[in-house]
Structure formats: C-alpha cells, structure tokens
C-alpha cells in the first residue's frame, strides 16, 4: 500500500508540476484542474499514510466485516414491521364479510375498512406528508396531496363496492336455502328462468334492505367525500400544470362567469325597469 502510494504520488506530481521538474524554469500558474488534482492527491496521501499505520487495516477490515450485520439489523427491523402489517391486512381481509347475515346489514364489519384506512394513514401517508423544501415546495405538496387523495379514494371505493356486492353474495346463499325444501320434496323447478326470477326477487329485497340501512348511507357519504376531496386535489394539481400553457384555469373562468352572471342580472333588472317607465 505504501509503495503504491509513493509511485502514484510521484506520477501525479510530475503531471501537476511538469515545468519545474523538466526544465527548472520559473513556476507557471496552476490551472483549476491541476489545483483540484493536487488537493485530491494530498487527501489520498493522508488517507494512505493513515492506513499504513500498523493495525489500521485490521481495524478497517473489522468495520467492513461488521457492515453486513448492521445491514441485516436494519433490514430486520423493516421486515418485522412489514410482516406485522401483512398479518394485520390478512386478519382484516379475513374478517370482511364474516359476520354478515341474510337481509341484515346492521352488523357489517365496517371496522375492517377502517383498519385498512388507518394502516394507510399511519404507515404510508406519512411519506407523502414529509415537509417539502425549496422553491417548488408548493407544487410538490400539491402533487403529494393528489397522490394521497387518490389512495384514500381507492380505499373508499373498495369499501363501497364491497357493500354493493354484498347483496349478490347473500342472494345466492338465500336462493340455495330457499331451494332446500323443494329439493327435499322433489318439487324443483325445471325451467332455468324460474331460478333467475327467484334469485332476482331475493336480490332486489337485499338491495332495498341495504339501501335503507344507516351503514350504507354513511358509506355513500364517505365515498362522495373521498371523490370530492380527490377532485379538488386533482384540480389544484392540474391548475398549476395549466398555468404554463396559455389557457385560463377553472378558477379564472369561474371568477369571470360570476362577474358575467351579476352583470347580466343587473342589465335585465334595468331593462325591466326602463320598459315599465
């Protein structure tokens, strides 16, 4: 290591300071590249001298050997949390629909979706809420908000779609139950249309029960809230993008329309007044 440093040090010195070495002439002014090279060389010499000290390499190797252990520890912490999350998700998914009964929508496991939302809010949303810095911080914030509202919309839509699908699932179950007795008595309908009509009637009944339940009204309200929040975030985000083009934004147009609306109203009132006099 020491001999290598000495060799490359001499070579670099020759390149940096060729005039003095070759001709013995007056020292010329150094260029920026040469200065930078010299500084790097000095740093290298310093490091290599330090490494040449007895025991330094052993200490370094010890540190290098310890690196995988540190990385494993870091990764382990991350993976532990990830597996814990996965377990929570699996439990959540498992619970969905476990406690629902035919024509009953009061005992829905809405909590399952709440947990799902909480996991997103606690584990992922934080990354989108990291304070943004610098000149473009407002634009970055809007982009993060757009992504956040999109994710929340996905969760809300999943919950809503789950509710909408639930009567389907239940209606098939009820149809099977309803057919048990005729099957025992050997009075099963021969026409497939008959089965369809029975199922449709059951399905309709289930939907009516669902739509009258407070759970549905709340979920509908929550879904609409998520859609609206997403639309607002999307508009804010695209508004910035549109500002770079020679087109007015929605806000510009709304201001203009409002002014136009009030002006037209005043003109009509004045027209009416003048026609009456």
């Amino acid at each position: 290591m020491k001999s290598a440093t000495e060799f490359w040090g001499a070579m670099a010195k020759m390149w940096i300071d060729p005039g003095e070495t070759a001709t013995g002439a007056k020292k010329v002014e150094k260029t920026r590249v040469q200065e930078s090279m010299e500084s790097t060389l000095k740093m290298w010499k310093m490091v290599s001298s330090a490494l040449s000290e007895p025991g330094a390499v052993d200490s370094l190797l010890e540190g290098v050997n310890a690196l995988p252990e540190i990385l494993v520890k870091m990764a382990k912490t991350g993976w532990d949390r990830y597996f814990q999350l996965q377990q929570e998700w699996a439990q959540t998914m498992g619970r969905i629909g476990q406690r629902t009964e035919a024509y009953q929508f009061e005992n829905l496991d809405q909590e399952a979706f709440q947990i799902w939302t909480e996991i997103y809010q606690e584990e992922f949303r934080r990354f989108l809420n990291i304070p943004q810095l610098g000149l473009t911080r407002f634009y970055q914030e809007k982009m993060a908000r757009f992504a956040d509202k999109y994710n929340l919309l996905q969760v809300a839509m999943a919950e809503f779609m789950y509710l909408i699908y639930l009567p389907m699932e239940k209606s098939f179950k009820v149809l099977q139950e309803n057919l048990e007795d005729p099957a025992k008595e050997g009075k099963m309908p021969e026409n497939s249309q008959e089965y369809y009509r029975m199922w449709l009637k059951i399905l309709e009944g289930h939907y009516m029960t669902l739509f009258k339940s407070p759970e549905y009204t709340q979920t509908l309200g929550k879904t609409l809230d998520s859609i609206e929040a997403f639309v607002v975030a999307k508009q804010e985000f695209f508004q910035d993008a549109f500002q770079t083009f020679p087109v007015p934004t929605n806000k510009d147009m709304d201001d203009l329309y409002k002014e136009l609306y009030h002006l037209k109203k005043r003109v009509r009132e004045l027209e009416k007044k003048t026609s009456q006099t």
Binding site: G186, E190, L200, L220
Partner: protein, 360 residues
C-alpha cells in the same frame, strides 16, 4: 329406479333446448343490430319560438284546425334532471302527440345543457327569470292574460313556486310526479339526500354532474335497472320493434344534463333539508312562496309505485294550496311509467285534456 329429487336431466335438456333458441335469437339479433334501426326520439314537428341563453321554447305544430284547438295554450315545464324528450319518445307512445291530437296548443320548455357558465344560476333565475319570460312571451304572442301550466317532477315544483308567485298569469295548474313535501322516508332519494354534504358537492363540481346523478338513480334499484333490464334486452333482441324502443329509452335515460350548482344547492337545502316549500317558508328571489296564493284549479298526478317521488312527497300539495277546485289522481304506475306505459297513455293525457276542457 326411483326418480331423483332434483330433475337434473330435465333441467339439462331444457338448457340444451334454450341454447338452441339462444343461438337462433343471436343470429336474428345480429341481423337487426347491424341493419337499419329507427331510434330517433322527439320527432314530433316543432318550432323554436323563443331563446334565452341555453333555454329554448318549443311550440308544437298543431295537428287539428285552429277552431278545434283549446283556446288557452299549455306550457309544459320539465325537470332540470334528464330531458323533456321523454314526453315524445316514440310514435304511439308520446304524450306530446296525444295532447296535440286532442286539440291542445302545446308549448314545451327545453332547459338545454347547462355549462360551467350556468353554475351561479339559482331557483330564482329559473322561476322568476326564464319561466316568467317564457310565460310573458306566450301571453304576448297569443294575446292572453293567462295560460295553462303543467310541470313534471322538479319542473312541477318550479311550477308550484311560479303559480304562487305569479297567480295572475296562470289559469290552470297541472302537477305530475311533483315533489312538494320532502319530509318523507318513503323514497330512497329522500333518505339519501338528507345525508349529503351539498355545499361541498357544489363547491367541488360547480354544476351537479348528470352522470353522477344517473349513477345514483341506477343504484335505487340495481337488480332491475342494471341486471334484469339487460337480461330482458337479450331475451328480446331478435324483435326489431323491441330493440328500437329499448334504444330510444336508453338514449333518453342517459341523456343527462348537469344541474346548475346553485339551483341544486338551494333545492337540496331548502326542499330536501328543511322542507320549506310545503310550510310556506321558502324564499325565491326575496319573496316568500305562499301556497295559499295558488287559487287557480289544480290537478295533481302521482304514481302509486313511484320510487323517486313517492306518493307521500306529492299528495300533500292539494291540501295546502288556496284553490277550491283541486284534484289528486294516483295512477297504478311508477315515476316514468306515467308518461310511457301503454296503460297510462290511455289514462294520463286524456284526463288532462278532459280536465282542461271542463275549465276552458
């Protein structure tokens, strides 16, 4: 050998038979769908006689000679949701044609398609603005002091407000599937509307998107409107008449203009939220809407099986107006059936004509 309790053999043979029929039907259907179809709606000849912003006034060409026409013209005001073309869906199933054939001089309000520009328009702008201008136009051109007014659904609610605010201009008032009492839990719409955050909705969207409302209407009965309806279509798609009528209906249902934001906000808050109209507490254009000022004859139609505007939302009106000549007519049908079902076609328009004739 005993017969199995579930007749699997019979079910399978029936299915096989059905499969043959389906194949034949699909072949015929493809010929129909790929061929020439007449799916035009609102084909009854009319003239646009007045225009203001997006609003147009249609005047239908009378089919009877002038001496056989009823002296007082009838102005029909449709809702801001969906389009007035529903009254003229197809020949033989058209309220417009029935009225014309029975001597009614017919005008129809076409609200057009509101754009973002119209988001600030309020109920006052529609009732005391557009409607009043149209009524004045008809009175002026026909040289009459009063005209007959008929409202449909939300358009009926506007007509009730108008008749209370301008009773001197209306001779007879007809309301059809018109919500005036919003404090009822009979219809799902009434339940849902109480929970929506209308301020946030209007602030977000500007106008209330027609497609979003249509999606809401489909959710009122998904089993029938999203499944059974199309199963019915598949079963009948080898019949040209059926296909044409089905497509006409689809054209009308999904032709949904947006509703001006401020109008929607006020309608949901004052009507669905506070139920102000039926209590004589609603304020439009700075004036209180007093139903006692409706002193002209009133004919009030509603559908027994209407899931959008249930009887409970309609039937209170006649007991609250100031008129002595008033009548409720409950038909055994739903919200749209009143105008399009064959049975109602025989009852609805003829009843209107008789009633107006008696009061001419």
């Amino acid at each position: 050998m005993t017969r199995p309790k579930i007749p699997v053999d019979l079910i399978l043979s029936k299915l096989a038979e059905d499969a043959d029929k389906v194949q034949a039907r699909a072949q015929k259907a493809s010929d129909i769908l790929l061929g020439q179809l007449n799916t035009e709606i609102a084909t009854t000849p009319c003239e646009i006689v007045y225009e203001e912003d997006r609003v147009k006034l249609k005047h239908y060409k009378p089919v009877l000679p002038p001496e056989e026409l009823l002296g007082t013209p009838l102005l029909v005001v449709y809702a801001l949701i969906n389009r007035e073309t529903m009254l003229d869906l197809q020949p033989g199933r058209s309220v417009v044609q029935r009225l014309l054939q029975n001597g009614i001089d017919l005008y129809m309000m076409d609200w057009g398609y509101p754009t973002r520009k119209d988001r600030y328009l309020t109920i006052d702008d529609h009732v005391n603005g557009y409607m009043d201008n149209v009524v004045d136009f008809i009175r002026r051109t026909q040289n009459l002091s009063k005209i007959n007014l008929m409202g449909i659904c939300m358009g009926g609610t506007f007509c009730v407000m108008y008749s209370a605010l301008h009773p001197e201009k209306i001779k007879n008032l007809i309301t059809t599937v018109t919500p005036t009492n919003f404090d009822t839990d009979q219809g799902l719409l009434h339940i849902w509307m109480k929970d929506i955050d209308v301020d946030r909705m209007v602030d977000t969207f500007g106008n209330m998107p027609g497609d979003l409302m249509n999606f809401g209407f489909l959710l009122l009965n998904p089993a029938r409107l999203m499944i059974d309806k199309y199963v019915g279509f598949l079963e009948n798609m080898d019949k040209k008449d059926f296909v044409e009528n089905f497509i006409r209906m689809e054209k009308w249902i999904f032709d949904s203009p947006d509703v001006p934001g401020e109008t929607f906000r006020q309608f949901v808050k004052d009507c669905y939220g506070e139920n102000l109209l039926i209590q004589n507490k609603m304020v439009v254009g700075g004036q209180k809407v007093d139903l006692q000022k409706i002193t002209m004859p009133v004919l009030n139609f509603y559908g027994k099986y209407d899931h959008l505007v249930p009887p409970g939302a309609c039937e209170l009106l006649t007991s609250k107006v100031g008129s002595k000549d008033k009548e409720d007519v409950c038909l055994d049908t739903g919200h749209i059936g009143i105008y399009v079902s064959s049975k109602s076609q025989r009852e609805f328009a003829p009843k209107i004509v008789r009633w107006l004739n008696e009061r001419e």
